[in-house]
Amino acid sequence: MPCSDLSDAPLLRLHGLVAGYGRIRALHGVDLEVRRGQIVALLGANGAGKTTTLKTISGLVRASAGRVLFEGRDITALRPSDIARLGLVHVPEGRRILRGLSVRENLELGAFTVRDAGERQRRMRHVFGLFPILERRQHQDGALLSGGEQQMLAMGRALMQGPKLLLLDEPSMGLAPKLVLEVMRIVRTLNDEGATVLLVEQNARLALRLADYGYVLESGAVRMQGSAETLRDDRTIIEAYLGA
């Protein structure tokens, strides 16, 4: 297949994705596209299916129908570890810093699949360049960092994987307002670094300020979509999710 086809095709595409937990169905046919270089926001109320969508993309939840295409390739049936190796990196809710391991060891986990030691070094230096605080605290227990620093560590670890697409699940959750802005600045930086981002955010106003495009989920299906500016100005969105 010629290269031009690949760059024109969306990096990620969901086709009628259906998934759930046991007999409870959380997604009823989600269609969604993420283009290379974009930040796409996935909005919606609690229980709308945002987290489930991310988990289904990264293989943690099995799709019962529909398809996930990544770089044009069907990854619906792949195992989570294989999906991660393709450069589709999921930063789950709650950051998942490994308690008892140092900041450095947490970062090393991110580059576990990289066999070239020089490349691992290079990525570590890159992450330390972006987040100098992590370098200063590299020998501390990762779980003892502040909430904001832990979020940096989680994102740094994701960067160690060399992501093409980052799935970020509520990176601002539980952080003080000042840190929320800091996290959003980090997301912007990661995007400038070349990572495409699919961002789940409770704080829709903030997410739409950052994103290029947005989807609004309701009861496990896409209710609305559009460019971030359009969604920002949409009265229904404002009333339903932005609490105006």
Binding site: L60, R79, P92, L98, R99, L101, L109, G110, F112, Q161
Partner: protein, 325 residues
């Protein structure tokens, strides 16, 4: 009692630190090997037999430590692999007349296959299921051995002949003591190498947070299966030498309480820490022996001692973080 334990802990810290660094480490190892070599001459035959049993426990505990300490999988039926090794050797030497050294790879192969068959499907599930399945597997192996003619039913197999190695007939308790010295040393070296390997790092991450590890591209099922099968192989090798040492094997040697004793050795010394696991195995075997003068109270006293250790040092006797880098 509490302050004694604390004083001991304070002393143990720097001592272990000294033993794990530079020249101190080499001196300690040299002394250890000299003591190991001299022990049978100094202590006599009875003590040599007991020490041999302790070394067997070191091998088994180090094998189980790969499963429990490194990969964080609770295995309650580890004696099953010990039995697989012992019975494979017993059956092939007695019924097929094979040379012991040829049955050894067979024992390893049977244990590896058993590990894959039991672990393959089970390790896909959450770890609690593994505990239940391994518990069942341990009992199935023991009960099967009790009921099949080929394994000698309840009376087991006897008359397993002692092997020759390049003209050396491994026959006396002292011979077997040295064989088990070599096995225990080999098990310790293999454990250390595994712990430092890429696979060792993968075990560490899976043990800490398997979901996070999976999200970083580590295939948790494969990584866990590698630990489970490695443990199975080490257990089977222990069992194979156990069979030729005693010359006779029977189902009670492979009971649930055997599995628990091995697990106790791992937990007591400190999961994932090689010196700790060795210490734990020594305590589990030698503890009741040293308390023999107490007569029928010795197991009670031993049990109280174990409880106190767990109470005051819940992460094991050996200081430091488990699975050190």
């Amino acid at each position: 009692m509490a302050s004694d334990a604390r004083v001991l802990a304070r002393l143990a810290g720097p001592l272990a630190g000294f033993l794990s660094r530079g020249i101190g480490r080499w001196i300690a190892l040299a002394l250890l090997f000299a003591a190991m070599a001299a022990a049978p001459f100094v202590l006599g035959e009875y003590a040599t037999v007991i020490l041999t049993n302790a070394l067997l426990y070191v091998v088994l505990a180090l094998g189980l430590n790969v499963v429990v300490g490194y990969a964080g999988l609770l295995d309650l039926g580890y004696a099953a692999f010990f039995a697989v090794g012992a019975y494979t050797v017993g059956i092939l030497t007695l019924r097929a007349g094979m040379n012991f050294w040829l049955t050894l790879p067979a024992a390893v192969a049977v244990a590896a296959v058993a590990g894959v068959v039991v672990g393959g499907p089970t390790l896909r599930l959450r770890s609690d299921y593994l505990a239940i399945v391994t518990l069942g597997f341990g009992e199935i192996v023991r009960i099967t051995a009790r009921n099949l003619p080929i394994t000698g039913m309840a009376s087991g197999l006897s008359g397993i002949r002692q092997p020759w190695l390049f003209g050396w007939h491994i026959a006396t308790p002292r011979d077997f003591y040295y064989v088990f010295c070599v096995l225990a040393t080999a098990a310790a070296i293999v454990s250390a190498r595994l712990s430092d390997s890429r696979l060792g790092r993968a075990w560490l991450y899976v043990r800490y947070d398997e979901d996070a590890a999976e999200a970083m591209g580590i295939d948790r099922v494969r990584v866990k299966l590698a630990a489970y099968v490695t443990g199975a192989i080490i257990g089977a090798i222990g069992g194979a030498f156990f069979a030729v040492n005693l010359g006779a094997i029977s189902p009670p040697s492979f009971s649930f309480s055997q599995s628990v004793s091995i697990l106790m050795a791992v937990i007591l010394g400190g999961m994932g820490k090689i010196p700790g696991v060795i210490l734990g195995a020594m305590i589990v075997v030698l503890g009741p022996e040293l308390l023999r003068s107490l007569g029928e109270f010795r197991l009670l006293v031993f049990a109280i001692g174990l409880l106190l250790i767990m109470l005051f040092r819940p992460s094991g006797l050996w200081p430091g973080r488990s699975h050190a880098k």
